[in-house]
Symmetry: C3
C-alpha cells in the first residue's frame, strides 16, 4: 500500500541532522501511507501519552521496513506538541522484539547492509535522544536489538514471568554488539555487569535482569498497563524543559560518539558482516530457527 518512491523519500528525510526540517504537514502526508503497518500508534490527547505497539508477527524483528516505520512514527510524535510521552510495547504475545532481522544481514548487497545499518543507528539516535518521556513496557522476551530498544527508554517495566528474558546476546551468535549498544548498556548496569553479560552473550530471565538494574521494575502481566501509566504520569509531572535538558546532559556524550563515528561504524558493520565466516554463522542460525519452527 506504499506508493512507489515514498519509502526512500521518507528514509532520506530521516537522515540525522543533515536534511533541513521539512514542513511537518508535508512529511506526515507523505508517510501516513505506510504507517500503522508494523507498529500501531495511538495518541491519547488528554494525557499527552502515545503508545507504540509492535505488531509484526511472528517476533517483531527489526527489519529495514520496521525500523523505517519506527523512526517515522517517533518523529511524528516528537513533532506533535500534543504528545509528551511514549509507551513502547508489543502486540505479539510472549515477545517484545527479537532484535535485528537476520535476513537483512545475510546474502545482501553492500548497499543494502549500509542502508540497513543506517536505519538501526537512526532508530537508536532518535529513541535514546528523544525529548519525550519514553517508557518500555516489556511484555515478552527481548534479545539483542529488542533489548537495545528497552535500554534506550527512560524507564523499563517488565512482566515478571521468568520465561521472558532480556539481554544483548550478540556474542552467542558469533557477532559483536556495536560500541553504542555497549555504551547504552554500561550507562544502565555499569561496566562490570556489562562486560560479563556481553562477553557471555547472556539472556537474563526477568527476575535476574531486575536484580542488577537492567529493568527498573517487575509487574504481573495484568498490572502492566496500569503500572506503566502511573510511571508515565510521575515522569510527566516534571516541567518538560528542565527534564529534557537534564536527559540531554546525561546522554549527550554517548549520542555524540555515534554521530561523530557514524560512517566509520557503517563501514565496520559492512566489513564484519560481509565476512564469509560470519555469513556462514548467520545462515546456520537461520536454518536452526527454521527447524525450530518446522
Amino acid at each position: 500500500s506504499v506508493p512507489p518512491g515514498v519509502l526512500p523519500l521518507c528514509r532520506q528525510l530521516l537522515a540525522w541532522g543533515r536534511a533541513p526540517r521539512q514542513p511537518p504537514g508535508l512529511l506526515l502526508a507523505q508517510c501516513r501511507a505506510f504507517s500503522n503497518n508494523k507498529i500501531m500508534v495511538e495518541l491519547d490527547e488528554s494525557s499527552g501519552v502515545a503508545t507504540m505497539k509492535f505488531k509484526s508477527p511472528p517476533v517483531n524483528s527489526l527489519s529495514l521496513d520496521f525500523l523505517t516505520e519506527f523512526c517515522i512514527s517517533l518523529e511524528k510524535l516528537e513533532n506533535n506538541r500534543a504528545c509528551r510521552g511514549v509507551i513502547i510495547t508489543s502486540a505479539v504475545p510472549k515477545i517484545f522484539s527479537s532484535g535485528l532481522d537476520i535476513t537483512e544481514m545475510c546474502g545482501k548487497s553492500t548497499e543494502h547492509y549500509a542502508e540497513f545499518w543506517r536505519a538501526v543507528q537512526e532508530m537508536w539516535l532518535r529513541l535514546y535522544g528523544s525529548n519525550m518521556v519514553t517508557v518500555a513496557a516489556v511484555n515478552g522476551s527481548s534479545p539483542a536489538g529488542g533489548c537495545l530498544i528497552a535500554l534506550s527508554c527512560d524507564y523499563r517495566i517488565m512482566v515478571e514471568n521468568p520465561k521472558f528474558s532480556i539481554g544483548l546476546n550478540e556474542a552467542q551468535l558469533g557477532i559483536v554488539a556495536p560500541f553504542w549498544f555497549k555504551d547504552t548498556f554500561v550507562n544502565i548496569v555499569g561496566h562490570r555487569v556489562a562486560e560479563r553479560s556481553l562477553q557471555l552473550g547472556s539472556l537474563h530471565p526477568a527476575p535476574e535482569a531486575h536484580r542488577f538494574g537492567l529493568v527498573d521494575e517487575l509487574v504481573p502481566e495484568e498490572k502492566l498497563q496500569e503500572k506503566t501509566g502511573a510511571v508515565m504520569a510521575q515522569w510527566l509531572a516534571l516541567p518538560d524543559h528542565a527534564r529534557q535538558l537534564t536527559k540531554s546532559m546525561m546522554r549527550k556524550a554517548v549520542l555524540d560518539r555515534l554521530v561523530a563515528h557514524r560512517e566509520e561504524d557503517i563501514q565496520n558493520f559492512i566489513s564484519f558482516i560481509s565476512k564469509e565466516s560470519i555469513q556462514k554463522s548467520l545462515r546456520m542460525y537461520m536454518e536452526m530457527l527454521k527447524k525450530k519452527k518446522g
Copy 2:
C-alpha cells in the same frame, strides 16, 4: 561587622588559580572580621579535626555571603597545618542546607549572577578538591546545593530519620543541575541512578538515599557525633600524603572539567537564569515558600 571593602577583597583573593597566594597571615587578618558569622568553625588541635557548623537560619541557604564565608573558612583550615580533617554539619534543627539561595538568582543584575555563580563554583572546587578528610554529618534535609555539599565530602553519615531527605531536585523547580553537580553525583551513585534521580528531581528519604549509596551510613541522631568522630579517625589513620594523592587521582578529571569550562559555565548560568520563563518560575516558587511560612 565587616569593614567596608573587605568582602570584595576576600572574594577576589579566592579567585581559583589566578590570584597569587597571599601570605596567609594577611588573608586571615583581613577575613577574620566576618568569619564565624553564618558558619561556626571549631578546631580541635589535639585531633586535628575541625567542625564547620552551618548556623544561618531559617534554612542555611547558600547566599553569596554564606558561600564566601564557607570558602574562606575552608581555606583557613586548608592552610592550617594543625588541621587534617573537617566535619561539616548544621546547627539548625531539621535542615542541613536548603541549597542555593533563590533570592540571589531572582531580579538581580547580570554582574550579580556572575559573582554568585563564581562563588558556587568556588565552593565546590575547594570542597571536592580539598586535601583534608571531609565528612558530612547530615543532620537534616539536604536538597539541591545542600546535597552537593554532602556529595563533595569523602564520606556521608545521615541521621536515619525518614523525614529528612536529600537529592538534586533542581528539575522540580524547572531548573537544571549544572554538569559538575551531575558529574559529582554520577561518581557516587553511578550513571543510571543519577539519570533517573536528576530527571525526576527526586528528594530521597534517608533510608532510600542509603540504599543506593547516596549516603554511606545512617545513624540515630544521638549517635551522629560519636559515629562521625569514629569515621574521621579511621580516615586520619592513613598517611596524609598517600591519601591526598589518591583522592586527587579519583577526582581530578571532574574538577579539571569545570576549571576548563568555568567562564562558559558562568555564561550558561546567566543566560539560563535571565530567561523570563525561569524568572517567573522562581518568583512563583518563592511566593509558595512565603505562603507556606505565613
Copy 3:
C-alpha cells in the same frame, strides 16, 4: 639455570608493541630454560585450559624475575592455538600473591626501578588484554599487586574464608596505586567504592569483597577447582572471535591509556619511589615484616 643473556633478551622481546614478533619457536626455545621456576604451568590440551600456579614461597611476591616469567608464560599460552583459557591460582597455602616485591623498590638504581616498573606494566597489559578467557581462583590473601592480577582476569572466584582478604591497600604503605590499577578497579566496583577503598587502603575480607563485586563468587576451598572448571567451561562455550572482540571493546580505552602514557608512568614511578621519605617508609615496612617473621 638461566643461560647468561637469555633473561634480558626475553624481556626485550616482551616490549609491548615495539619488537616485531619473533618466530614463536625461537622465543619458546630461548625461554623454556627458566620457565617453570616460580610459576607452574600446565595445559590440558583436551579442554584447551591452562593453569598457572604461583609457587614462589613464602608469599608469591611479584619480583622482576617472577613478572618476567609470568609474561613469558602467558605469551607462550597466548601463541599456543591449543590454549583458549587460563586459570590463575596459587600453590602456596593461604596466599594468592602478596603483590609487588618491595625489595625491588628499595635502595636500587634508577635503571632498576625503570626495568621493574616496565615489567609490572607489561604484566598488566598482557593479562588485562589477553585474548584468552582468564579466571582467577583466589585461594588466599591478595593485597595490592596480587589484587591487580585478580582484577585483570575475566572472572574471580575466591575461597570463602574470611581470613583471606583482597584489596588495593597501597595507601596503607604510604604509596599510591598508579592510575591503571585504579582504572581497572573502577571498571569492576564503580567509582565510589573504588574511591573509598583506595583512599583507606582497605583489605576486604572475602565476604565483603564479594558483597560489592570485587570478586564474583565465593566457594569453600574444596570446591574451588570444580567451580573454576565449570565457570571456565561456561565462558569457553562462546565463539572465541566474538568473545575476544567484545572483551577488547570493553577494555581498550583503559589499556590504551597506559600504552599512551607508559614512559611518563615509569618516570612518575621512579621519581616517587626515589624520594627519601618513601624509601624510609618502605624500609620501615620491611623491618616490620622481618620482625613479624622472626
